[in-house]
């Protein structure tokens, strides 16, 4: 994959604030036309990444290209083709959504009033009420509307569904999937709502402490990634490249493997594992396996296997 056929490409992207390494050499590929869920815990560096991509902050080191253009030097070209929904949905309190549309549309020659009117209707936005008087959910909807109206090639959405009710979340996700991604547009969005990400994303990236821990197609996670829970002592801590994470609790050891789970389980049995079970992973489970720093399980009988089974229920 090269910088030209990817919507977003970063290499060694680093951002340091004083003593804090907000981003630590992150290399990221977002394929053109994909819906990319950008996941991470609070403070993982998601918003920092987005700010760097949009020119709101400057990287300490590394490089990034958006739509084939280099951030910093070709920022205006990037902004012409990129729509953005910020994490903090703050616009101008004294303006109505109708006036905000008027204001924003003037920046974009490709602005579609037809699309805007359609989405305003779909999202049920009170267009004549002052922004400052709107509920948090309606403010979010206005921000999304302003992004959708741009007819942008790339939508960068920072927590786009925060504060929305389930019906509107479903509507927003449907619009993103059916009317944006289906037209070849790239959607790059950060979220804590893993169920939402799983609903529309076809790629995910998991960021933690400024490092991209993982990047893959969601379909690959569903079809290939497994958690293997084995009981017994003396099991290997980490064995091969296929093992993404290992955690121990009491007599149980948990492995997240990227492929060949059955063969891996057989290998554990040969190492003397008393019991070995293989489970598929949904995104939430996968995310937790990748990013958690503290073991979920604590002692003896309520070991990893039990905890894992209960977490699935």
């Amino acid at each position: 994959m090269t910088a030209t056929d990817t919507a977003i490409y970063t290499e060694g992207l680093t951002k340091i604030y004083g003593e804090l390494r907000a981003l630590d050499g992150m290399t990221l590929h977002v394929a053109g036309g994909s819906v990319y869920g950008f996941l991470g815990r609070n403070g993982a560096g998601k918003t920092t990444t987005i700010r760097l991509l949009l020119g709101l902050a400057r990287p300490t080191a590394g490089s990034a290209h958006v739509l084939g253009r280099e951030i910093g030097t070709q920022q205006l070209e990037i902004l012409k083709r990129t729509a953005f929904v910020p994490e903090r949905k703050v616009l101008y309190d004294h303006m109505t959504p109708h006036e905000l549309v008027h204001f924003t549309s003037g920046f974009y020659p490709r602005w579609s009033h037809e699309a805007m009117e359609k989405y305003a209707r779909i999202l049920d936005i009170p267009m004549k009420q002052k922004f400052g008087k709107l509920s948090h959910g309606n403010r979010t909807k206005v921000c999304i509307l302003l992004a959708l109206g741009q007819n942008a090639d790339l939508l960068i959405l920072d927590e786009p569904t925060i504060g929305l009710d389930p019906v509107i979340i479903d509507t927003v996700l449907r619009v993103l999937l059916e009317e944006q991604a289906s037209q070849g547009r790239t959607v790059f969005f950060s979220s804590h709502q893993l169920a939402e990400v799983e609903q529309i994303a076809d790629w995910i990236g998991i960021l933690d402490q400024g490092k991209l821990l993982f990047e893959a197609r969601l379909e690959d996670i569903r079809s290939q990634y497994r958690v293997v829970v084995a009981g017994g002592n003396g099991l290997p801590a980490a064995t091969s490249a296929q093992v993404l994470s290992v955690s121990r609790s009491g007599a149980f050891t948990r492995y997240v493997v990227s492929s060949g789970a059955e063969a891996f389980a057989a290998g554990l049995r040969q190492h003397g594992a008393a019991s070995v079970e293989v489970f598929p992973l949904n995104l939430r489970e996968f995310f937790l396996e990748i990013v958690r720093k503290e073991e979920l399980c604590t002692t003896g009988e309520s070991g990893a296997k039990t905890e894992y089974a209960s977490s699935r229920s």
Binding site: R51, R58, F84, P86, R88, M95, H102, F107, C143
Partner: protein
């Protein structure tokens, strides 16, 4: 569109300032023209001798009064821009529109400058109307010199407050700092002027008050250019800050 938004946000204040401009110079004009008439100089350019009999050269007094007003117009017009956007939390939205950061800085400055210019012209025209009505020949050329002088004064106000607002990302700091700096600077200017008069120091701190002598000559022209350059430089520094701003 950015101009539209600034206009939308400032239109009430703008018309209020225009009204202020209309009334600010009237009392001064009336007093000055009355002095001129009373001194027997009706129909003539007010002479410098009036300065010793009353409280200064007529135009100078008029100019300084208008200058103080236009300076505060500039302070108000300069309060806002990117610093205010950062304070309010909308900077991330605005700065991701496809325009350079310089566009936002200089567009804001331009709209503020137009407000100052509109105020200046209104104040001058109203004053001229009063003086013309009273004394028939109020010395139009000296009078016209007020236009650039007042405009430069207003631009200094815009540049100073905009810089302080941008640097601190707080509008209160911008206006408060602007007023405090102005008072301090003028006091220092007066002190250094007094010390210079007593031959204690080589030269006084230059202040824009020098503009208000309103005698057209090369020194006034260079002073005007210098203060105009200072006003633009203040905006240039704001631009420099905004270009490096991370939000």
């Amino acid at each position: 569109m950015y101009y539209w938004r600034i206009w939308r946000e400032n239109r009430v204040r703008f018309f209020a300032l225009l009204t202020l401009g209309l009334v600010t110079c009237w009392p001064v004009s009336v007093i000055v023209s009355a002095d001129v008439v009373a001194a027997g100089y009706e129909g003539q350019v007010p002479p410098a001798e009036l300065a010793s009999r009353f409280w200064g050269h007529g135009l100078e007094v008029l100019g300084i009064a208008a200058g103080i007003a236009v300076y505060f117009v500039g302070l108000l017009a300069g309060c806002g821009g990117i610093g205010e956007e950062v304070e309010h939390g909308s900077a991330a939205f605005l700065l991701t529109r496809p325009r350079s950061r310089g566009y936002f800085v200089w567009s804001f400055w331009l709209t503020g400058s137009l407000q100052v210019l509109a105020f200046t012209l209104t104040a001058m025209l109203s004053s001229y109307a009063v003086m013309f009505y009273d004394i028939r020949r109020p010395g139009p050329w000296n009078f016209l010199l007020l236009a650039p002088v007042l405009t430069i004064t207003g631009l200094l106000g815009i540049g100073l407050v905009n810089l302080l607002t941008t640097a601190s990302s707080r509008t209160k700091n911008g206006v408060g700092g602007g007023v405090a700096f102005t008072v301090l600077y003028l006091v220092l200017g007066y002190v250094t002027f007094a010390l210079h008069h007593l031959r204690r120091i080589g030269f006084p701190l230059p202040t824009p008050l020098a503009l208000y002598h309103l005698n057209w000559n090369a020194a006034l022209a260079s002073t005007m250019l210098a203060w105009l350059a200072v006003s633009v430089a203040l905006v240039g520094v704001s631009h420099w800050i905004v270009a490096r701003l991370e939000v």
